[in-house]
Subunit: 332 residues, 3 copies
Amino acid sequence: MTTTTWHRSHILSLADFTPAEYNTILQTAASFREVLSRRTKKVPALQGQVVANLFFESSTRTRSSFELAAKRLSADTLNFTPGTSSLTKGETILDTAKTYLAMGADMMVIRHREAGVPQAIALELDRLRSRVGVLNAGDGQHEHPSQALLDLFTICSLLDTDRPRLELLAGKKIAIVGDILHSRVARSNIWSLTASGAEVHLAAPPTLLPKLFAEYSHSSGQPNQKLFIHWQLEPALVNADFVMTLRLQKERMTQHLLPSLREYHRLFGITRDRLRLCQPEVKLLHPGPVNRGVEISSDLMDDPQFSLISQQVTSGVAVRMALLYLMGGGKA
Amino acid sequence: MTTTTWHRSHILSLADFTPAEYNTILQTAASFREVLSRRTKKVPALQGQVVANLFFESSTRTRSSFELAAKRLSADTLNFTPGTSSLTKGETILDTAKTYLAMGADMMVIRHREAGVPQAIALELDRLRSRVGVLNAGDGQHEHPSQALLDLFTICSLLDTDRPRLELLAGKKIAIVGDILHSRVARSNIWSLTASGAEVHLAAPPTLLPKLFAEYSHSSGQPNQKLFIHWQLEPALVNADFVMTLRLQKERMTQHLLPSLREYHRLFGITRDRLRLCQPEVKLLHPGPVNRGVEISSDLMDDPQFSLISQQVTSGVAVRMALLYLMGGGKA
Amino acid sequence: MTTTTWHRSHILSLADFTPAEYNTILQTAASFREVLSRRTKKVPALQGQVVANLFFESSTRTRSSFELAAKRLSADTLNFTPGTSSLTKGETILDTAKTYLAMGADMMVIRHREAGVPQAIALELDRLRSRVGVLNAGDGQHEHPSQALLDLFTICSLLDTDRPRLELLAGKKIAIVGDILHSRVARSNIWSLTASGAEVHLAAPPTLLPKLFAEYSHSSGQPNQKLFIHWQLEPALVNADFVMTLRLQKERMTQHLLPSLREYHRLFGITRDRLRLCQPEVKLLHPGPVNRGVEISSDLMDDPQFSLISQQVTSGVAVRMALLYLMGGGKA
């Protein structure tokens, strides 16, 4: 592995990521994917360093992925989980982070149900002049950068295995289908995909995709020429190269945003029939866990001709290795 | 350690284990016991490999034993526990297993309260042409192979420390006492012990040991000449060389299968007095955790003259190292 | 690191610690602090050894500190937590400890809500002639030796970074403020601080600091000439060099030992104003987690001029490395 230039100490949002940064991550992840194909899937890059996983909102899947990424870089890991925490004892979240800082954590991976928590922790760590990097592993409805980056890596790797790079997506049509309003995954993906020059088509019922969403999606304030909003599924699917589905939270029903899962599936569920509207080579993504038969019909989910779901999980480890490696100073 | 021939990719049940397989495990475990007696109790056999412990049914004791076995082979471990799982989020068990497969797990240790889950996962992993091995760490009332193998190793090691082997049990009388009906431990032990040529005597109240049980215990359909059923304790104990007791679940009372723990102890509890019926050198086993004063009288449990309980726990680590090692390709 | 003479196999209480023992720990911790300042913060001292963290009472913060200390000594760790334990299955605490002994744990770090549990386990392990050391990580209202030792290390390091030693405290005035009655932290600190020749001033409301407490604080039965009791805050603070605050458990209100948190803060909370009574260089400690605005005013807690709270956390890892290292035979 070559030393790469990387200047970002925290990874909190993709809003201001440059194409060069995306490409550094994609290339670094590709080299780790190669490591993961060996029998001994481990490199000593972060030997003796400590990655603290502070999952205030629990997620076995994402935590396992980060934990494995850290271990494969030979880092030690510490897991903080809310059930056994001192948060119930009146400590603030910043106090918890400062405790792990004082213990000697070199990096913190943070998930919280409130938007902005990883950023608040990063600010505090910077104020204290620590050199500890914060990686946002999902904050409320804000962002989930590592998920969007693994989606990007999965797609770009499909287009060019050896040299995955942002430019491969220029001119591609990508549909994002589902509960866009509440989805941190969608928000991060919109940043990376529009940065790539792809055409991004959002499709959801109006309750889950308000019109004003489009305006919120631009840092420039200018409408994004590459972002399209649909309240029906079909126009988003027509000629799509990739279809990204989002997890539907069941509480959307009790919040009266949706009549039923069945109704949702009838209108926005991805089926074999509907995929005929897309490009013949279309591929399907989902951040998992899938509600089988809701976002995607069950047989389609398992069909390797269309589904990239398990490649996404595999990409997750390589991409998270790349992120920890770059944040950790990138010497291998 | 020498390279051993091992062809089984999953360890799900002992029903079709051959004497050669039992002996390979016993010998491999003996060599790991030697490793465990050194100051540095670690070998690099599984360096860089990942063992995922998927304990859908929680068990600190068994999980710790597997985790330690994996770490002493220098593997990395990932623990999945139900409390923080995405199972509550509508994902199926197979989806969870496939997620850990996609992350790069090399082996999966699976415990589930339903019989057949490890087998279903193994089938799915094979269907996907993964080379990931599944080890059943207890499935419902079906089997618990690693427990029976550690029991076997404990007994055979007592008979010949340096060369524990199946043949040592030929002609020995072994009593299995307790809730046979619901016990996956008993079921696995019956396979290994009858394979060894021992005489196996089951003793339990009729509610916990139906007559038809004997017939279910043979794959051939022929009554097993070495398996005997008793509804009283004494005939099972007479001249026994080993007495295996089973854990009594307290819910058997609320299910009206037992009047009380006290009544159970009065009729089937192992006491110093009752051991006089056995061979003078008789030894006592229990898979743990013991209900003191129920299955075994409390003082007897702690008496090193009779009790092999702590040897069983120690054997557990060596046997699980052997299983992971053999499944992992067996190069040390 | 040089080989140090250390004869204590368990660390259960500071009641009978000698000045030489305190100094060995302080020096060993200082050398580990140096290790922790390197990029690769790891030494192979306990390679292949297993540290079992048996936290019957859960504490993420203390467990993480011990886990990190163990990992930085290259030990493997096993975590036992009550939620998933077999204690609910009728096993005794000693049985649990014996299970981890039989699995091959080399050291046990034990926390329990009942006083005396670590000692009972240590006695049992000695009776069984194991050579496994027990480290009390907090037992009921009895002791919390590693916390007091990290407090001592923090203070002594401030007075002489390179050569922290007990004698530096002779003649210093140290106030301990708060719920002394229920505090295992206070109890351990009283032993170490009075052993150092410091003057120790306890301050709390009478309900949390009964008069007879003073008498209980001496093993000799003689009143300790260096220990003073106050039912008001001010006399404890006057000219103090260090102020140690204790965590206030909110259940003290429901137990009618305190009118309210606000009332407590008004009478015994440490504020910038009150610190003016102390030496100008006074420093503030708290074992964490802090109830902000109760034991200490929130701004003061974060003021690096006064607060040693984050140094305490950092010291914790170095001191726990020293304790595990010394118990483990001390070869580096």
